[in-house]
Symmetry: C2
Subunit: 319 residues, 2 copies
């Protein structure tokens, strides 16, 4: 399936793995790229540039196909050294998110890197085009992780972004199936980015106790927390997340909510499988995911369904 | 364009006008049906059964094509007499919403009426199928008016409903364009229901002062109120709506918020164009609507775009 995005990245299918803090490492990334999508290493998952460079090497041992690096700006630490690392390692694709990537545009583009910025609103989509990004990801309210503050869903955001920018648009938030891939293409997107769907795979390095819980969840089992500090995030509706929300509703201070939202608590829960620690990003589309499959089978299933949907739509075309 | 829903209703296009309290009257309804969609009179707009019967007659003078009646149950008053009126007038299609229509299933179906129930969740979709409804409308978080309490968006709800029920699914919430119609069909729906899009038409009887405001609004200009009483509703983000939300956030009583949410205040605002009275339902998709067109031109535009999108998708099919 050929789109502006598959052309831009030299990939087989218009399916991109979302940036997944702590989970976007070589086992998942290489599997996504090897299966014809685009895997993204999540820079923030690594304690240092050197660790990231090591995992870039590991990924290259596992696949000869293109992959990229996702760099979340301003969330955890200065990302300059990771940007330098990407250039040093000659990774051809970078996705940025979290804040304006303006300072990184010149160094990345001077080195031939394709730069895609992840935005939660049309306003920021236009800004990303202005500063020279090659494409944008627009993320709707239903997404796992960080939607915008205005709670606008993918249906509207994707169409509006396609109207307002001339660079290719990648749809994110609620896309996990072949049917939703075709929906995204209908809305004018050139690819989808899937986070939640790839969290529910065999290859992702995530404690089995969390992984086996995922297929049992429904579309009602996510919630938004961290609104009180202006950084809404959609997470699994665990007891811990509900406690956090209740604290926020009571006007808790940053100090009081910190044990729930710290990166350390999250990384510990990934390792130990104890969801009593930290919060765990998850999209509403988890309600459509009922198995833990290999990445290859997942992409096959998505593309198989996409082809069946196209066949069905062809029937309308003839009328 | 032929789908299970166009077949069921004998209509040309899989486009259904949403139930619009105070606005779903003969001028709009006849225009939608005449243009090849399905118009729905909103029973709650009429003070009595007799008034509704009169408007059914008016609609029949304006179009010979099929139209239906939307009956919101349990929101304003007992709807038994309106159901009796529909049967008496031999209207062939009823959409119910707001509460379980179980008591009306037998009388309606015994009289050959097709019954569609509007639901905000998969659980209620299954219930509607169980009690004998002919189809369901499933409404996502982005909709104008009443979404569910669980804030799940159309992207996930439509797909999940299609998996879980065997009666046809109509997608609502965020659908206003030809691209989104094809997205809905991709997700497995057999039609879309559009509310907000038909509010922004020449024919709808709505004060010009409100109407001319609509094309200027963006996708960020709606908000949800009435959560405090367990009946979330998405409305235009007017000063009045923001005041109401602030009151709710401070724990206001039902009595305190009543001036904002009463049906009388709403109906007065429709007549006077004064949005300082009441709240005005509106979906996020308003951000994609930039003109007030006739219903005929609107449906032409939607179907024209839908055909162009199908043509574009055909290109993927060949790859």
């Amino acid at each position: 399936m050929k789109t502006a995005i598959t052309d831009m990245f030299g990939i087989q299918y218009p399916i991109i793995q979302g940036g997944l803090h702590g989970l976007g490492t070589s086992p998942l990334v290489s599997a996504v790229s090897e299966a014809g999508g685009l895997g993204l290493l999540t820079a923030g998952s690594f304690d240092s540039k050197e660790e990231m460079l090591l995992d870039i090497e590991r990924t290259r041992h596992l696949t000869s196909k293109p992959f990229g690096v996702n760099i979340a700006i301003g969330i955890r630490k200065p990302m300059d050294e990771y940007v330098a690392g990407v250039i040093e390692a000659e990774v051809p694709i970078v996705f940025t998110s979290g804040a304006n990537p303006a300072e990184f545009v010149k160094p990345l583009k001077d080195n031939g890197v394709k730069l895609v910025h992840v935005v939660p609103s049309v306003k920021f989509a236009k800004k990303a085009e202005e500063i020279g990004c090659d494409a944008i990801v627009i993320v709707g309210y239903e997404c796992g992780g960080h939607p915008g503050r205005e709670d606008v869903t993918s249906l509207t955001l994707v169409q509006k972004a396609v109207r307002e920018v001339s660079i290719p648009v990648i749809a994110a938030g609620g896309f996990s199936t072949g049917a939703s891939l075709i929906a995204a293409l209908s809305l004018g997107a050139e690819a989808v980015q899937m986070g939640t769907r790839f969290v529910a795979t065999k290859e992702v390095v995530l404690h089995e106790r969390i992984k086996e819980k995922l297929p049992q969840l429904t579309e009602n089992d996510t919630m938004i927390v961290k609104r009180s500090i202006g950084k809404p995030i959609r997470v699994m509706a665990t007891e811990q997340a509900k406690e956090l929300k209740a604290l926020e509703d009571k006007g808790a201070t940053l100090e009081e909510i910190m044990p729930y939202i710290s990166g350390e608590a999250y990384l510990e829960s990934l390792r130990t499988g104890d969801l009593g620690k930290g919060i765990f990003s998850l999209g509403q589309t988890i309600g459509l995911i009922d198995t833990i499959a290999s990445v290859g089978d997942t992409i096959d299933q998505v593309m198989g369904e996409a082809r069946r949907v196209l066949k069905r739509l062809e029937h309308y075309e003839k009328l």
